[in-house]
Symmetry: C2
Subunit: 436 residues, 2 copies
């Protein structure tokens, strides 16, 4: 295998730490996918959180950004500085140095992406920004590559977890905006200065990027209409519910005869829609396109590991492009052909599940005692039982139960014994539960 690709990180805060953590924890899986290792060799950090869950012994730590972006050994720079001043300088300098850049900085891309991409194209280096929108959801990849066949007409997204958390809590608890904001700050879901999240600025950065990759237009952050959630009252939340809606803070971009709409604001969404049921800090992006129709992408929009997931996906993309023969840039089965595992496949009798059981009893009182005895003998405990009066004057009565988790062969043994009972007519219906 080739030498590992060497990464320099600017900023070892939440997301930087998450990136290092993911790269270390999944080093083997990542190398099996990318065809070579990916290691962080240099990092610039003012001070390190003492309790970080990753190792720093193999990383050269420095307080000088230039130590990282000018170091000859570094192949890829991960920019996690935030803001659009130093971050812009460092990004352009890294590109000028011939280094590939991965960034999670939506403000930087939304405001200066046109300039950055031109520089990268001229220099022949890659600039990747999957982490800038929707955290770990591969939404940039889905739109740029997965939907490449489509004329996209409409994209709407819950792309700010803080706002979605606040609106979810207001609905669930009937609370005031201000009270939930304090709670969100306590939980670390909102910044001390929450302006960017609750006024829609963060969502507008992301929407700017989404609109560009959906419609093939230049980045135009200053054209986004922005409205936050600060004026939403518990009354509005309650009226929405009564009318069959949920209030969601959406970023919406739409192709119309007049041009492209670009707007971020609280929105009434019918409560049966999937996107209306995206709760808490989760993100989701709904895309409407002419060939595929509606598609939706859901997942964690923020946090150390989810954002690290997107950054490392970009690192793998770059590594695959640098390394493999073009015809096999992405391995057919995701992992390199010589790196497949021979983990055994589990026989169905060995899986663990909870079960729904339905049976027809003739003499319900006597039978139920026998049935529960059989289940208990096989180590199966019962979560819920429903008994119904006979339907349509039938002489049998249905017994329905949900069990707790058990190995499937135990359920099968129990079912066989139950079916042999005199008081049971016909076969037992068994359906597995899945609680995720």
């Amino acid at each position: 295998m080739l030498n590992p690709v060497k990464v320099g990180i600017l900023g070892l805060g939440t997301v930087g730490g998450g990136t290092v953590h993911v790269l270390q924890r999944n080093a083997q899986e990542i190398a099996r996918r990318a065809g070579r290792g990916i290691v962080v060799t240099h990092a610039c950090a003012k001070e390190l959180n003492q309790t970080h869950p990753y190792r720093t012994d193999d990383i050269v730590l420095t307080e000088q950004l230039s130590d990282v972006i000018n170091h000859q050994a570094v192949d890829i720079i991960v920019e996690l500085l935030g803001g659009t001043t130093i971050a812009l300088d460092m990004t352009l300098q890294a590109i000028a140095n011939g280094k590939h850049v991965v960034t999670a900085n939506k403000a930087l891309i939304a405001k200066h992406g046109n300039e950055i991409f031109a520089a990268a194209q001229e220099k022949g280096v890659m600039v990747a920004f999957e982490a800038a929108v929707g955290g770990g959801i591969p939404i940039i990849k889905a739109i740029r590559e997965g939907l490449a066949a489509n004329e996209i007409g409409y994209v709407a997204g819950i792309i700010n977890g803080t706002s979605n958390f606040i609106l979810s809590e207001m609905r669930e608890k009937g609370s005031e905006f201000a009270d939930v904001l304090v709670e969100a700050q306590r939980l670390g879901y909102a910044e001390k200065d929450p302006t960017f999240d609750i006024e829609g600025v963060d969502a507008a950065h992301k929407l700017t990027i989404i609109a560009s990759i959906a419609f093939g237009i230049p980045l135009q952050f200053n054209q986004v209409y922005m409205e936050g959630i600060t004026h939403i009252s518990p009354e509005d939340v309650q009226y929405a519910e009564e009318l069959g809606y949920r209030i969601k803070h959406l970023g919406i971009t739409k192709r119309t005869d007049k041009g492209i709409e670009l707007r971020v604001h609280p929105t009434f969404v019918p409560n049966k829609r999937l996107i209306a049921n995206v709760e808490g800090v989760m993100n989701a992006v709904l895309v409407e396109s002419d060939a595929l129709g509606q598609s939706l992408y859901y997942g964690a929009g923020a946090g150390a590991l989810p954002t690290g997931s997107a950054i490392v996906a970009d690192l793998v993309d770059i590594t695959r492009t640098l390394t493999t023969d073009p015809g096999n840039r992405v391995p057919h089965l995701a992992f390199q052909a010589n790196a497949l595992s021979d983990i055994p496949i589990v026989p169905i009798e060995e899986i663990e599940s909870s079960y729904y059981l339905r049976m027809s009893a003739i003499d319900k009182l006597g039978v139920l005692a026998h049935v529960t005895q059989i289940l208990s003998n096989n180590g199966i405990s019962i979560e819920a039982i429903i008994q119904k009066e006979p339907i349509n004057g039938a002489e049998h009565v249905s017994i329905v139960m949900l069990t707790h988790q058990v190995v499937e062969k135990q359920i099968n043994k129990a079912i066989q014994a139950i079916e042999n009972l005199d008081g049971i007519a016909g076969l037992v219906t068994r359906i597995r539960l899945e609680m995720k």
Copy 2:
């Protein structure tokens, strides 16, 4: 711009037709994304549907498969023959001829993928199969590339639209399985011989592929446990509802201490989960991975255009790899830098939307007439009105309404006039609706 990439299609049925249709309809968008055109030059078809919505005048039509796979001008073969005999021969022969292959054939990949990929790797050509799982949803790309940083622990998917349609209808209408099957056949959602769909074979093909790319294991179709939906009764559907669940036909693969679970069966899923709310012929795949956590991918799992969308995405992927400099394989903003559009951005006053309005009225009877008059004067019609008694003994009463679609400047004018009414206290709250 370079000459177009030339595509030969084996099979011009539903999916083949959809592929040609998408390539023709979105030719310009696709070329802007891929950096060059993609055109179908050859197609093998027994007979052509007379009412197809695409042009064939530029396509050499033949009944001989060999005419297509041996033609020197063809760069990429799209295999849409179905089955695993002739399709396998043709795929291997195309690879031997040095042609890239795109296929939607899940049975072929699930059963013979290991052999096909080895041949492709040896010959240095690409084999792409996004359309084989989840129709147009870019789920292969999401797992293989988007989640490349993650150790994946669990994948569960609604990956057979026919079964999901039948279960959705049984729940909605309380119908028997057999009756809904007939309805599904009438609507074209189920084949004349529905075995592959309703017995779980099709889902097992897809699950085989998902498990391989999630866990990096060889394709092992013969190890999948399969159970269809034919034994699900309306009673079970109803008991599920009572217990707070929905019955979904899931393909589940899971990493456990014992090995990999690979199973397709009807499943009880708690009714609050997003995946429990995926209805009709739609597909969705839920992935659980260590860095990102839960993510979900939703969209059309079958049909001419959705499947065509995935096939063309693969064609774009191959074209980008063949064409661009490696550092800019995928353009930053999805479209080539010299192919961005200058479509105008629409000012917010010009968008069309429905609106939620909430206002505080002092004298509710008199005021309501004035308010509705103002709305009517501005061309705004009302969809619903709620009037509430004063809360907490307040002297004001809330009037809440939903409007029909109207241009935003009209609503703004109306709101201004309403706020000037003597009987209205304070400002009007206005929230936009989004009905998708």
